[in-house]
C-alpha cells in the first residue's frame, strides 16, 4: 500500500484512466477527480492517449442476427432484452444493501406525498439505487430507467450560500452534473445523455458548490458523499 501522496499526479491519473484500480483505491481516485479539476483533466488526457491502442485491437465480426435485434430495440425498453441481459452476479451484499435502501427511500418519501401505492414487485427489478455517504447519514438515490426519474433523499447540510450538487461518474471517469439538491427530497429528470450514464457500477457523488451550481461544469467544491449505483 503505497502512500498516494508519493505517487506523481500523472501516474495516479494514468492508473485511473487505464482502469487499474479497484475497491477503495478506485473510490479514492474518483473522489480526487471530483475534488480536483486539474486531476480530472489529467485523467481525460491519459484516457485519450491510451485510446490510441484501440488502433491495434483486432476486429471480430459480430453475429449476423445481432443487427436486427439491436434495431428492433431502438424504440424503447425491450422486455426481451431486459430478460436476456441480466447482470447475474452482483455481489449478494450489494443487492442486500440496495434492497434495504429502496425500502429506506420508500418508507421515507417526501412528506407531502402520501404513499399508498407500493411499487409493484415487477418494477423493482429494473430500478437502480445508490447510497451516498456513510451509514450514519446516507443520502439514498433511486433511479427508474423506465421513466427517467431520479429521486434523491434530502441532501446533506451545506453552509449558507452554498448548494449540494449531484454528479454521475461513469466509465469515462468524468463527472457529469445531474442537478442540484436541497434539504428536502428532490426529484430530478436527467437529460437523455446522462440517463445512459446512470448504470450499474457508475459512481454518484455530491459536491458543495456556489449557489446555482458549479460554474465550471466540473465539481469545484469538496465532495461530501459518494456511492456506487447498483441494480436492485
Amino acid at each position: 500500500m503505497a502512500d498516494p501522496d508519493t505517487i506523481p499526479e500523472d501516474v495516479a491519473a494514468a492508473e485511473l484512466a487505464l482502469g487499474l484500480l479497484d475497491g477503495e483505491e478506485r473510490g479514492a481516485a474518483l473522489r480526487r477527480v471530483l475534488a480536483e479539476p486539474g486531476f480530472a483533466a489529467r485523467v481525460e488526457w491519459w484516457r485519450l492517449r491510451f485510446a490510441a491502442l484501440f488502433d491495434l485491437w483486432p476486429e471480430h465480426a459480430a453475429p449476423p442476427h445481432l443487427a436486427a435485434r439491436i434495431e428492433a430495440s431502438l424504440d424503447g425498453p425491450t422486455s426481451a432484452k431486459a430478460s436476456r441481459f441480466a447482470w447475474p452476479a452482483l455481489a449478494a451484499i450489494t443487492s442486500a444493501i440496495a434492497a434495504s435502501l429502496l425500502l429506506f427511500v420508500m418508507v421515507r418519501p417526501e412528506p407531502t406525498v402520501p404513499v399508498s401505492q407500493p411499487i409493484p414487485v415487477a418494477r423493482a427489478t429494473s430500478v437502480l439505487v445508490a447510497m451516498l455517504g456513510d451509514a450514519k447519514s446516507p443520502v439514498a438515490a433511486v433511479y427508474d430507467p423506465a421513466n427517467g426519474a431520479l429521486r434523491v433523499a434530502a441532501g446533506p447540510g451545506v453552509p449558507d450560500a452554498r448548494v449540494a450538487q449531484l454528479w454521475v461518474i461513469g466509465g469515462d471517469g468524468v463527472p457529469h452534473s445531474l442537478g442540484l439538491l436541497s434539504s428536502r427530497p428532490t426529484a430530478l429528470a436527467p437529460k437523455g445523455v446522462d440517463r445512459g450514464r446512470i448504470a450499474p457500477g457508475a459512481t454518484l457523488a455530491i459536491s458543495v458548490e456556489p449557489l446555482g451550481g458549479s460554474p465550471t461544469g466540473l465539481p469545484t467544491g469538496p465532495v461530501v458523499a459518494t456511492g456506487v449505483v447498483a441494480r436492485v
Binding site: 485519450l48 492517449r49 439491436i70 437523455g192
Partner: protein
C-alpha cells in the same frame, strides 16, 4: 504513407458525419454506423467479456447507448472511433466486474493483440497520436509494456494483473507505475 493518411482522414471524416447523423436519430445513419464499426466494437467486447454470448449482449447495450448518446459526441474532443470504442470497452469492463469473477487466465479463443509495428495497419484508425503512444510504449522495459498493454486490452486491474503474471501486487504496481512515469516523459518529450 501519404495514401494511408488520405484514406484514414477520409474514413474518419465519413465516420464523423455518420455519427453526427446518428445523433439526429437518423436510422439509416445508425445502420451504416453499425456496419462500419460493429466488427471493431465486437472485437473489444468479445475479448474483455471472454465469451460470445456476453459479448453480444454487451454489444447490444453499447449500440443502444450510442443511439441515445450520439447527440452528445463532440467532434473536437475525441475521434469518432475513440468515442465509440471507449463506450464499448467501458461497458464490457462494467459487465466483467459485475460478474464478481476475476479473470486471470487467457481466453482460449482470444486472438493475440498484434505487436506494435506489425499491427498498425492502414485504415481509418491510423493516426499520429497512436504512433507516438505505441513508439513510447515500445521504449519501456518488456514487463512494464506488457502490464500496461494487458491492462488495456484485457480490462483488468492491478490485482488481476499480479495474479496473471504471478508476481506480488506491490511488484506489479511498481512495474506499472515506473512504466507510466516513463511513458509520460516520452510523450512529453
Amino acid at each position: 504513407m501519404t495514401i494511408t493518411h488520405l484514406n484514414a482522414d477520409a474514413a474518419r471524416a465519413h465516420l464523423s458525419e455518420v455519427l453526427l447523423r446518428t445523433g439526429q436519430e437518423d436510422r439509416d445513419a445508425f445502420r451504416e454506423l453499425y456496419s462500419l464499426t460493429s466488427a471493431k466494437l465486437f472485437g473489444i467486447t468479445h475479448r474483455i467479456c471472454g465469451n460470445a454470448q456476453a459479448a453480444e449482449d454487451v454489444l447490444h447495450e453499447v449500440y443502444l447507448t450510442i443511439w441515445k448518446r450520439a447527440g452528445a459526441w463532440e467532434p473536437g474532443r475525441a475521434s469518432p472511433i475513440t468515442w465509440l470504442a471507449t463506450i464499448a470497452r467501458n461497458r464490457a469492463i462494467d459487465w466483467q466486474r459485475a460478474q464478481g469473477v476475476r479473470r486471470t487466465s487467457p481466453l482460449d479463443d482470444a486472438p493475440d493483440i498484434a505487436d506494435p509495428g506489425e499491427g498498425a495497419e492502414a485504415g481509418m484508425l491510423a493516426s499520429e497520436s497512436s504512433r507516438e503512444l505505441i513508439e513510447c510504449l515500445d521504449g519501456l522495459e518488456p514487463q512494464q509494456r506488457d502490464a500496461i498493454r494487458t491492462a488495456f486490452f484485457d480490462g483488468i486491474t492491478y490485482a488481476e494483473l499480479a495474479i496473471k503474471r504471478a508476481v506480488p501486487l506491490g511488484t506489479m504496481k511498481s512495474w506499472v507505475r515506473r512504466g507510466l512515469a516513463r511513458l509520460k516523459d516520452c510523450l512529453d518529450g
